[in-house]
């Protein structure tokens, strides 16, 4: 059909088929038409076309469309007993062409090579199946829940109730009244209807950067994170990333508050690190590659000598919190390089350096705790490859894997012994290119131990409960090391695992039990202790304290036949039992170090020094208690 449209007259209501077109069409059919006949025909054709168009629009309306299709027109034709026109049913727009000379306009109609079409290799796929999907578009007639992942700027679009709730909660948490804050945190942790508010809370939490001068506020915000993370009704989704970055900020940044040495930002970092590991272990699966990213940023901080020591401290604590594998992978290889820097700091006895040196000791302590656990866990993992299954089982039944190290303050709750124990391990692998077992060959335990020993000397051995008992310790005797290691670990690990489970929960709570810290705001303490008190914490807390007493007497009595090292163990044990400060080698080794004949190792001479600066450390440790549940 080639239709030529006449466009000569000014005002035209309809498209018209011109007399000439009719003549042309007649000619092509072999009929000669007179002018008047053609004119009449043209007019009639126009009218019929208009009529058909009119009735075809009805089909369009009932098909609930805005676009008139060829199909509609054909239906109209069919109902008026006119043959339908074929070949124009395609969805694509038809190219409309014109020929200048003949004033002809026509729809391009190319020939199609059927053979080619039939033998074509790119067989068109059938369109996807028609289906119905439902989504909640508007809740209570308000607010579209759709745009997730972005933090909306205006709180005003919430319903009044939610808005009120939001205001009350934020005011309570960031306000003065400790009791209110406690209640607010508790509610935040258990309220099932605050999904819509999640973006706003995340937004508030991301305000950590603006309050870096105020430890108190930072602490409260971290508590808010913890409540959100623990709320079982919240699906954090991609907000995990935002939460993690806020927490990382608290761990790593040289906070404004840390300028004043009296501010206990160390505690905040410890707490944040613990929180980080908690978020990671419980919600790490929500964001892929999160683990790797965290490791990378920690590594970056650690390897940056320009950063202040408190940042390094944060990185070490963070790595420690992420598990011994993270320590092995990031901290251990980096240690020799770092050690030189640290030593320089520690060796400087000038008065002006006093503060920095104190910080250096903190870092030293943190590293020591981290590598100790690394050694222990590594030994454990080597000694019981067979028992991996059982530990994994324990882990899975308890919701997280066994945790059996003597640094309850910091270690992350679930620590899979074997690689395949839990999803976390797979995350380790999946976490990008940095799969530790493929690219990075692990240092064998004896080598590792000897290297570490070269840094820490006996302060390390004290923790390790191995060789020193045998008198002359040969650091490079692998068989001995592994043997001696096997014994205690094999004997203690299993009961440890089971018995220490309660510690895990208590640990997760991070609720301070013995409030000995003068700096600690009682509100924080109470608020967090309330969080679980109703259900489990009181009981588990009790049990865990009892347990720790259990554990260490045992440790005390296993090695008695070995003589001198008993001392260290005893001391260590007492300390653990009393203060749960496994992390602090300074005090632990303080007393015995004087009496012990220490083999002259590379850096052991530091120990007394470290011990001497114990005063400020002591205060910090006290406050430390308040935040971390002692065993």
């Amino acid at each position: 059909m080639h239709t030529s449209l006449m466009a000569d007259r000014e005002e035209r209501r309809f498209a018209e088929v011109s007399r000439e077109s009719i003549k042309l069409m007649a000619e092509s059919a072999g009929v000669e038409l007179g002018d008047d006949v053609a004119g009449l025909l043209a007019e009639d054709v126009c009218y019929r076309l208009r009529e058909a168009t009119q009735s075809s629009s009805q089909f369009m309306r009932h098909a609930k469309r805005r676009k008139l299709t060829v199909e509609d027109f054909n239906r109209a034709l069919r109902w008026s007993n006119v043959e339908a026109i074929c070949g124009y049913g395609a969805q694509d727009a038809l190219p409309f062409r014109s020929v200048k000379d003949g004033e002809l306009y026509f729809v391009e109609d190319r020939e199609i090579n059927l053979v080619e079409l039939a033998l074509a290799t790119n067989i068109p796929k059938g369109c996807a199946e028609t289906m119905v999907r439902v989504n909640v578009s508007y809740l209570d007639g308000k607010g579209n829940l759709e745009p997730q992942g972005t933090v909306p700027s205006a709180v005003q679009s919430l319903s009044d109730d939610l808005l009120k709730y939001y205001q009350q909660i934020t005011r309570a948490i960031l306000g003065e009244d400790p009791h209110l804050m406690k209640v607010a945190l508790l509610d935040l942790q258990s309220n099932s209807k605050i999904a819509a508010l999640l973006p706003y809370f995340v937004y508030v939490i991301s305000g950590v950067k603006s309050v870096s001068h105020d430890l108190e506020q930072l602490n409260r915000l971290l508590h808010m994170v913890k409540s959100l993370v623990q709320n079982p009704y919240l699906y954090l989704g991609s907000y995990v990333r935002s939460l993690v970055s806020s927490v990382m900020y608290c761990i790593l940044e040289p906070l404004a508050a840390s300028i004043n040495p009296l501010n206990d930002h160390w505690t905040l970092r410890d707490y944040a690190a613990l929180l980080l590991s908690h978020i990671f272990w419980t919600h790490g699966d929500l964001v892929s590659g999160l683990y790797h990213q965290i490791l990378l940023s920690l590594q970056k901080v650690l390897s940056d000598p320009v950063r202040p020591l408190c940042s390094h401290y944060g990185a070490v604590v963070g790595l420690h919190a992420l598990g011994w594998k993270a320590v092995e992978r990031v901290l251990f290889p980096h240690l020799p390089a770092y050690w030189a820097n640290l030593q320089a700091v520690l060796d400087d006895y000038s008065v002006s350096n006093a503060q920095v040196k104190a910080d250096g000791h903190k870092v030293y302590g943190a590293i020591l705790v981290a590598v100790e656990r690394l050694l222990k866990m590594k030994a454990l993992s080597l000694s019981q490859p067979v028992e991996g299954g059982s530990s994994a089982q324990v882990g899975s039944t308890m919701g997280s894997t066994g945790y059996r190290v003597s640094s309850p303050g910091l270690s992350p709750p679930p620590e899979p012994l074997t690689e395949a124990a839990l999803g976390i391990a797979s995350h380790l692998q999946a976490g990008g290119s940095g799969c530790p077992w493929e690219e990075w060959t692990p240092v064998p335990l004896p080598a590792m131990y000897s290297e570490l020993y070269s840094f820490f000397g006996d302060s390390l051995a004290v923790r390790f409960s191995t060789g020193p008992g045998k008198g002359n310790y040969a650091p490079c005797n692998p068989s001995q090391v592994s043997n001696s290691r096997k014994e205690p670990s094999g004997a203690t690990s299993n009961p440890d695992t089971t018995r220490k489970m309660p510690q895990l929960t208590a640990n997760l709570n991070i609720s301070p039990r013995q409030d000995g810290s003068p700096r600690m705001d009682p509100s924080v303490a109470r608020a967090s202790s309330v969080q679980r008190s109703r259900s489990s914490s009181s009981r588990s807390g009790q049990r865990s304290t009892g347990l720790s007493r259990d554990v260490f007497p045992k440790a005390r009595f296993t090695p008695p036949q070995t003589g001198p090292p008993v001392f260290s163990f005893l001391i260590g044990g007492r300390q653990m039992g009393r203060r749960c400060q496994g992390r602090r080698p300074f005090q632990t080794t303080f007393a015995p170090s004087a009496s012990l004949p220490i083999p002259p190792r590379a850096y052991t001479h530091k120990l007394p020094v470290i011990g001497r600066v114990g005063k400020p450390v002591r205060r910090w440790t006290c406050s430390h208690y308040s935040l971390h549940l002692p065993l």
């Binding site: 028609t130 999907r133 989504n135 909640v136």
Partner: protein, 769 residues
């Protein structure tokens, strides 16, 4: 043409009363239009009414109406003189088409003497039938010309008598032939225009109503008398004066410039065959009359006399706003008398079902299996307590199917859910869930959800019907007959055992139609699904076997909509043939035919008490029909475009309608008045739904929005006696106050809305990327 062979095939089985039907078919064919048609339709409801009434009296109390409903069509109402005339007309038509065998059969059955036809034929063919026969044939071929029926409203009779013996288009048109000088038409019209512009303000608006029909008729006269250029000039000059809401009609009109075009043009026939109704106060009318007589302007006076129906009322002339609110339909306003009939809009008394305390009781009841004993008791109860709504029809006015045990269970479920229903209001808006049809490339044309929101069905332009389960419960077919024989029929879980687990799937596709499926409706008991299609049929599908059970033929043209009665069993359909039909699932013939619309019936809905159906049409009117006697009891005008959505309020008192003009109009059924206008949508409204307690009206539109309106406030008005008596309404423009919310979809037209039993709003539409 399709219907040519239809009568031939079907005729031998027809009883004489089926002549109505044949007649309709004949009229559909094109030639025969006015008189005979009108008569048959008029007479039919009478016959039905008597038949059905007697059936009710006799049966309803004793036996179950479900099985006892008899289609009134089968009852011949012999004896009436006009009926005989109808028969004669039919015979005449049959003979004309050389259906001699049918003629014989019909004549024998009707007991007419052999020569009666000849006599009759003699005097009518002389005037009308002889020549036009050929024309009739050609008309059959012309576009979409078909049955044209004038209103069956009471006031029609005068015209009927005149046209009775001239059943042809030509004759109809010939009324235009004896006119005066075409050159003077413009003078006449502008003379009148000048006069109306100079009258007092209070009369001007009323008299202006005359312009449009006058304009159209004068134009048509010019065209008919072959004054093509004069007609064009006339159109050019005055078409701009017409109200904007007549634009669509004007467009059709101006495409029509030849006498030949007039034949078979439905719009034109509508104009000619139905009188355009104007409501004018007595004062204004006197003014007009005096003017025309003074000027001896017979030309216009004749047109007014012949083609206009002026409904004169005493009292204050209406304002422009009042007039505009009510006008816009194809044939003017409704006559006041048309909306005077009593409508029983109240709800039927719910059968008394006691909420079982626990499930065991329920089990016990079912196992006893003595519904017969219980049923009469309940009926007695119902009749004893006469406390029911005075506006409600009697329980047995329409025979309704008896409740099955499963229905009772469902009612119990409904009641339980109702107790958990959210109370909606302006401060407590419903949550909205959207069902998006994805990958619906074939075109989604209709959607329905079951009352309990467990199933959703879609009708598609590719002729398929698809059913989805929106609950975790999958759709399963009943096992094949052979497998069914194997199962233990005594077992308690026999209903579970008959289902074929292998067929479980989330959705099922129903094949059978041969054209787009425009209407779809679930039966209340969720056992059946109705679909109406462009192929002219309505199909009943079983949701147990997922097969087609019945194809209901009768419309012969696209069926735009269909809906099940809220009590099941009956359903209504309407389509391009302008006739709405009432069917019962177990009858392949319609029980009632509701004719009166001047254009396609675009949507059909059942009243909650099943005694009425409402139809919306492209003629921009809404009609309410009484199921019992087939009468049109309400005509609502005011929409300015085809009506595509209708919804009764759950209490049965009100009606909401939406049209292509993007407006929702609210109607008081009892008073027959427009009570509100909701403006806001920018495109066709395809769905309307009241919340379960009538507090909120939701409207879904092609403009990709759902809007919520405060229905409580909209209907909270007192109708004073004066307004009720005159039908003059004062609408306040408070759409913005009533609009509670407007919710965008993601480029998805909203074509269905549904409130769950707990008042959650479900919307559905096909996503168009």
């Amino acid at each position: 043409m399709r219907c040519h062979d239809f009568p031939k095939l079907e005729l031998p089985v027809f009883s004489s009363a089926h002549a109505h039907f044949i007649c309709k078919m004949a009229a559909v064919q094109g030639g025969l239009v006015d008189a005979v048609e009108e008569k048959t339709i008029k007479s039919e409801p009478v016959a039905d009414a008597t038949a059905n009434n007697s059936a009710n009296d006799a049966r309803a109390p004793s036996s179950s109406p479900g099985s006892g409903v008899s289609p009134g069509v089968n009852k011949p109402a012999a004896g009436a003189a006009e009926d005989q005339q109808t028969l004669l007309a039919v015979l005449q038509f049959l003979r004309k088409n050389n259906l001699s065998e049918s003629v014989e059969i019909l004549r024998r059955e009707a007991g007419l003497p052999e020569d009666s036809l000849d006599q009759k034929g003699g005097d009518s063919t002389g005037t009308g039938l002889g020549g036009p026969e050929a024309d009739g044939r050609t008309d059959a071929g012309s576009l979409l010309s078909r049955v044209t029926v004038s209103s069956s409203a009471p006031l029609k009779s005068g015209k009927v008598a005149v046209a009775e013996d001239q059943p042809d288009v030509n004759v109809v048109l010939s009324a235009y032939s004896q006119q005066g000088d075409p050159a003077l038409y413009e003078v006449y019209y502008s003379g009148l225009k000048k006069f109306i512009e100079t009258v007092l303000d209070c009369h001007r608006a009323e008299l202006s109503q005359v312009f449009y029909p006058l304009f159209v008729h004068m134009y048509l006269e010019l065209v008919y008398n072959n004054h093509e250029n004069k007609a064009k000039a006339f159109f050019e000059k005055f078409s701009g004066d017409q109200e904007c809401y007549y634009q669509d009609d004007l467009r059709v009109l101006c495409s029509l410039t030849k006498k030949e075009h007039m034949r078979g043009n439905e719009t034109l026939l509508d104009f000619r065959t139905s009188k355009f109704v104007l409501r004018i106060s007595r004062d204004s009318y006197q003014l007009l009359k005096r003017h025309l007589q003074e000027r001896q302007n017979n030309q216009i006076w004749n047109i007014i006399q012949e083609h206009l129906y002026i409904d004169i009322f005493d009292g204050m002339p209406r304002s422009k706003g009042q007039i505009d609110a009510m006008s816009g339909s194809l044939a003017g306003e409704a006559k006041r008398e048309a909306n005077k009939a009593k409508v029983y809009y109240g709800l039927l008394k719910e059968p008394e079902i006691e909420l079982p305390l626990d499930d065991e009781d329920e089990e016990a009841e079912n196992e006893e299996g003595k519904p017969k004993k219980k049923k009469p008791k309940k009926d007695n109860m119902g009749s004893k307590s006469k406390k029911q709504d005075p506006n409600a029809p009697s329980q047995t006015r329409i025979p309704l199917p008896e409740l099955k045990d499963s229905d009772k269970l469902d009612k119990i479920m409904n009641m339980k859910e109702a107790t958990k229903r959210i109370r909606l209001g302006p401060d407590n808006l419903p949550s909205i869930c959207f069902y998006s049809f994805l990958n619906a490339y074939q075109g989604l044309t209709a959607v329905d959800l079951t009352d309990d929101s467990s199933l959703i069905a879609g009708g598609f332009a590719d002729s398929t019907v698809r059913v989805w389960s929106v609950t975790p419960k999958k759709l399963r077919k009943v096992k094949s007959a052979a497998d069914l024989n194997m199962i233990d029929k005594e077992s308690d879980d026999v209903l579970e055992r008959i289902m074929d687990e292998k067929t479980a799937s989330e959705s099922k596709i129903l094949y059978g139609h041969s054209g787009p499926v425009y209407g779809i409706s679930f039966s209340p008991d969720r056992n059946y699904l109705l679909s109406s299609s462009e192929d002219g049929t309505i199909r009943l599908w079983s949701l147990q076997t997922f097969t087609c059970l019945v194809g209901y033929k009768g419309h012969n043209y696209p069926v735009w909509d269909t809906q099940f009665s809220p009590h099941g069993y009956y359903f209504v359909s309407g389509g391009h043939d302008r006739v709405a039909r009432l069917w019962a699932t177990d009858h392949y013939q319609p029980l009632r035919m509701f004719s009166g619309h001047l254009a396609d019936i675009t949507c059909t809905r059942f009243h909650p008490n099943s005694n009425y159906v409402v139809t919306g049409s492209s003629d921009r009117t809404i009609r309410l029909w009484d199921v019992l006697n087939g009468n049109c009891v309400r005509i609502f005008t005011g929409h300015k475009g085809p009506i595509h959505a209708l919804a009764f309020s759950p209490n049965g008192k009100f009606l909401a309608s939406g049209a292509t003009d993007g407006r929702v109009l609210l109607w008081d059924i009892g008073h027959g008045l427009m009570v509100g206008e909701l403006k806001g949508h920018t495109d066709t409204i395809y769905s309307l739904r009241f919340s379960r307690d009538s507090e909120i009206l939701a409207s879904g539109s092609m403009d990709n929005t759902v809007r919520l309106w405060d229905a409580t406030k909209a209907f909270d008005l007192e109708t004073d006696d004066f307004t009720a008596a005159t039908g003059h309404i004062h609408l306040q423009d408070n759409s913005q106050e009533l609009l509670l919310g407007s919710y965008m979809t993601k480029s998805t037209p909203v074509i269905h809305l549904h409130f769950t039993r707990r008042n959650l709003l479900l919307a559905a539409g096909g996503y168009n990327p």
